[in-house]
């Protein structure tokens, strides 16, 4: 078993592999450096394809169907800052190894790992679930005038803005037998008391009842024309929408729109990269034969491994630098 590992996965051991430290005469680089850059080149094409698809879908979207201001900007900004800090600490960890300061290396690497974990935790335990708990219906264009009080399209037209076709918020009641009936029941228990909905409205069997987002509660308020930095609290107003007037209804999940489809795909793939980086850092931080144990026999080799893992991490940071503005801000 151990023989097999040494033979096929020499990088998991402390076995000598040529040019882990010294430069290959033909490339002038230690081999892993060349390897990681080839890998990153392929990653550029992977994310490039997805960004290209994003542009294609966004350019092709009908006016009013590419939403803005649906994500939590302060939280996104904080996560961006956390990734940048982790990029600084990983380069400091590498520098510490080059200067043969093992203690500092361990500290900086720990901070890097923690930053990565915070980033993922915020994404998975806060940002994504908040979306899955939010609901929107796109109104059929021919029925839009019925819901003008929630859409405010006359006002938007006068302001030179794109029209609004969606009414969103917390789903409190869904048509009987609908896919979302269960969630509506659950939401009604959690949020229903805020609105006193049973007194306020008496929906028919095939109606959606939505506790409105601020933007649909006051669609003619100029302050709602452009997205806000701080998320605006939800209104307690309710909208009753007949299923016959609805073009599509969905929680804020990939099926909701091309916007959320690309958002979840790209941030999900990015999140997987963050997870992968964390696992590699953990390996290099713990006393594995190829981790900190390697410091005793060949500190330069460990420094190079950290540099390689760091290059990957910086790339992940670099991708986020583009992901953040295109989904959260612009």
């Amino acid at each position: 078993m151990s023989n097999l590992i040494t033979k096929y996965f020499p990088f998991f051991t402390d076995k000598e592999v040529p040019h882990t430290v010294s430069a290959r005469p033909d490339t002038g680089l230690y081999s892993a450096k060349l390897g990681i850059w080839l890998f990153l080149a392929s990653e550029v094409m992977l994310f490039g394809g997805l960004f290209s698809a994003y542009i294609f879908l966004r350019i092709g979207s009908e006016p009013g169907y590419w939403p803005a201001g649906l994500l939590n900007v302060p939280v996104g900004t904080m996560n961006t800052a956390i990734l940048i800090v982790s990029s600084i600490t990983v380069v400091m960890a590498w520098a510490a190894l080059k200067m043969r300061q093992l203690g500092k290396y361990k500290l900086y690497m720990l901070v890097t790992i923690l930053c990565g974990l915070i980033f993922l935790t915020v994404k998975l335990s806060y940002e994504w679930p908040a979306k899955f708990n939010h609901f929107g219906v796109f109104i059929k264009k021919e029925a839009a005038s019925k819901y003008e009080d929630f859409l405010g399209n006359k006002h938007l037209q006068e302001a030179g803005q794109n029209p609004r076709w969606e009414i969103s918020g917390h789903l409190l009641d869904a048509p009987k037998g609908s896919h979302y009936a269960h969630q509506a029941e659950h939401n009604a228990e959690h949020f229903g008391h805020e609105t006193g909905r049973h007194d306020a409205v008496t929906p028919a069997e095939d109606d959606y009842v939505i506790q409105l987002d601020a933007v649909n509660a006051n669609p003619t308020d100029k302050n709602n024309d452009r997205p806000h930095f701080w998320p605006v609290p939800m209104s307690t107003k309710l909208a009753v929408i007949s299923a016959a007037d609805v073009e599509s209804a969905s929680v804020f999940a990939p099926r909701h729109s091309t916007y959320f489809a690309t958002y979840f795909l790209i941030t999900g793939l990015h999140g997987l990269h963050v997870l992968g980086g964390i696992l590699v850092f953990l390996y290099l931080w713990l006393p594995f034969p190829g981790g900190t144990k390697l410091y005793k026999t060949n500190p330069e080799h460990l420094a190079n491994r950290v540099e390689i893992a760091g290059l990957f991490w910086h790339f992940v940071d670099l991708v986020w630098i583009f992901v953040f503005p295109i989904f959260y801000l612009l």
């Binding site: 430290v21 010294s22 430069a23 290959r24 005469p25 490339t27 002038g28 680089l29 230690y30 450096k33 060349l34 850059w37 080839l38 080149a41 550029v44 094409m45 490039g48 394809g49 960004f51 290209s52 542009i55 294609f56 350019i59 092709g60 009908e62 006016p63 900007v73 900004t77 961006t80 800052a81 940048i84 800090v85 990029s87 600084i88 380069v91 400091m92 520098a95 080059k98 200067m99 043969r100 452009r226 997205p227 930095f229 330069e300 420094a303 190079n304 760091g310 290059l311 910086h314 790339f315 940071d317 670099l318 630098i321 583009f322 953040f324 503005p325 295109i326 801000l329 612009l330």
Partner: protein, 142 residues
């Protein structure tokens, strides 16, 4: 001499041109002597401040990106262009300084340039959403 230093990607005036690459200029020599190691360590120690500065610069630019997105530049496309310019500056800083591309070997630059060309081809495909050169169709935008 393949220690080419393409500076065009580095927006920061990190004036002293240097190489972070640990590879010695004479690639054929094998043993990292104690002297080499000490010299390299001193070299890196001198650049720790630069890493912090670039990091702080990135944090500041993040704030600027967020701030600018709430400024009305006339149209949404204009805001997108401004946002992408700032993002590109930030990405260049990460690539040039943190990823040591400033002063990296030409071998790596060569295939990164090729990657850039292919990636641009990929982005060019999106323009076919506007017009199809084969059929000569032009799709009007909204």
């Amino acid at each position: 001499m393949d220690l080419c230093v393409p500076n065009f990607l580095s927006p920061l005036a990190m004036s002293a041109s240097h190489s972070h690459s640990p590879a010695p200029q004479d690639a054929s020599h094998e043993n990292h002597g104690a002297h080499d190691q000490a010299a390299e360590a001193a070299h890196i120690a001198a650049h720790l401040g630069a890493y912090i500065k670039v990091g702080v610069g990135l944090l500041v630019l993040t704030g600027i990106t967020v701030g600018l997105s709430y400024v009305d530049f006339g149209s949404r496309s204009m805001n997108i262009i401004v946002g992408m310019i700032v993002a590109t500056i930030k990405a260049s800083m990460v690539a040039a300084i943190f990823m040591h591309l400033k002063g990296e070997k030409m071998t790596i630059w060569r295939f990164l340039i090729m990657t850039g060309i292919f990636a641009m081809g990929l982005f060019f495909l999106t323009f076919l959403a506007h017009s199809d050169p084969i059929t000569g169709t032009s799709y009007s935008t909204h």
